[in-house]
Symmetry: C2
Subunit: 287 residues, 2 copies
């Protein structure tokens, strides 16, 4: 369950050297997403872009990517959508589709070797000794292990009661970070564009006294593909803030200090890692 990611990161950088190994490039404020590692989710009301995290959750990303290649999710529905919590999708229960997918060993946390580092945001966080970012992803860590943390926009795999029971059902976090799910779920991506469309997915849960939502109203997935498999003219090309850049570390410190005149009284000099937005920008290509 706890594995080392140092070798994987190294491999990723060697590979990326053909392009740019942004992860260790402290001077580049922006990082271009890899289209083989980016997902385009088309909902009836808008498009969403997700960055996957093979460097943290390789098996989950491999299986999810293989399912995308097979158009597995196209036509499936968000069947469990609880306001302020999660929007969960997957194939219909007990369908053939549902039963065919292999279960995965959880990738909830990992051990770090001496070369592991991240851009620290907070010491003595409520849920961990430290929080910070690595390659755009929010992490928490204690002395010997680190884990991706359940911030809004996080993509994670749902599971049954057993740790290693996740297969294809996934959820997005749509409310205040449910960090009690950290380490016991596998996070494997995050929304980098179009989060407002995730927030507009039809809720399926109602309160006491309210009429239930008919399944016909559930939000469907029109299509979900790796960006590399999307026709070039329809791709959404995104760059995200390089959280390894000096510019980002500076922004973190500015955010903590709150020197703007608006702060006539200063807040405590602490930061909630899930309340630090990582900026995205849209790259418009000439056609």
């Amino acid at each position: 369950m706890i594995y080392s990611i140092h070798k994987k990161l190294l491999a990723l950088c060697l590979f990326a050297f053909i392009g740019t190994c942004n992860a260790n490039n402290a001077d580049k404020p922006w990082r271009m997403l890899d289209i083989n590692n980016t997902v385009l989710l088309a909902l009836p009301h808008g498009k969403v872009v997700i960055e996957l995290a093979p460097q943290f959750s390789p098996k989950h990303v491999a299986q999810f990517s293989a399912l995308l290649k097979n158009s597995f999710y196209d036509g499936t529905k968000f069947y469990r959508v609880i306001d302020g919590f999660v929007a969960q999708a997957g194939p219909a229960e007990d369908s053939e589709k549902d039963s065919l997918v292999a279960t995965l060993a959880i990738e909830g946390e990992f051990s770090m070797d001496d070369n592991w580092s991240f851009t620290q945001v907070q010491r003595k966080d409520l849920f961990a000794k430290y929080t910070g970012f690595q390659q755009g992803f929010a992490l928490a860590k204690n002395n010997n292990s680190a884990w991706l943390t359940h911030c809004p926009g996080t993509l994670a795999m749902a599971r049954g009661n057993e740790a290693d029971s996740a297969s294809s059902h996934f959820y997005f976090v749509i409310g205040q970070a449910p960090r009690y799910l950290d380490r016991i779920m596998t996070i494997f991506g995050r929304v980098v564009y179009g989060m407002e469309h995730i927030q507009s997915i039809q809720r399926t849960s109602v309160i006491e006294g309210e009429a239930s939502i008919d399944a016909g109203m559930y939000t469907p997935i029109v299509s979900m593909k790796l960006m590399a498999d999307v026709p070039i003219a329809e791709r959404i090309i995104i760059e995200v803030e390089n959280t390894e850049a000096k510019a980002f570390a500076k922004r973190i410190e500015e955010r903590r200090a709150r020197k703007d005149a608006f702060f006539y009284k200063k807040p405590p000099p602490v930061l909630d890692v899930c309340q630090v937005p990582i900026r995205s920008r849209l790259i418009t290509t000439e056609s």
Copy 2:
């Protein structure tokens, strides 16, 4: 700026004694909202119910309620909507409407006397010594003062750089709690029903490279009234969990302990006050 609320709470309870003083009733798990203290916000895509907090922010609630009586917000727009942060509305800048409203002294925090108490949720929170609930509202406190805290669904008044410059522009929190705004803004209500419609308000901010949003697309307020001023047949009657009840304290402890089999590995026994949902239920009346 820091004022005592004990007398006000006492007065509220004496008044409520004609009905029920739920605030101190540890046996009643639900509390009926007062229609004179509840707002019905009609958006083009759905209805939202808000509970006001005169016990914490009396001047802001008094001014806001007076504006509602005058249909002040009907037709105004959500002109500043930043995904993951806030949805802000108010009259058009430099309009006559905008200039006529008096500015308010901030009601950002208050001192407690010896009789003050709340249902504690967390000791050593990231932003405060303690967090908890009182009458459904999330609060944080240090030794001598307490304040409403910026959880998702919070309603607060916007302001300029000066502490006492709020007038009529307000915002809802729509993302991870921006608790660095605590104490320097006046929170005066919270969404108790229809938060998904607040989450679906048209975003007005775009990322770099993206086309800007035309003001014609901004989400308007169809109408916003005190529930007492809504025709009886159109009222939405809501009860909320009584956060002073023993049942609620028990639920907090269960949430901390996570005894369900799903938690094959226990999370740390801490709670983020903004990640504890306060339940609502709809009271359907016979017509």
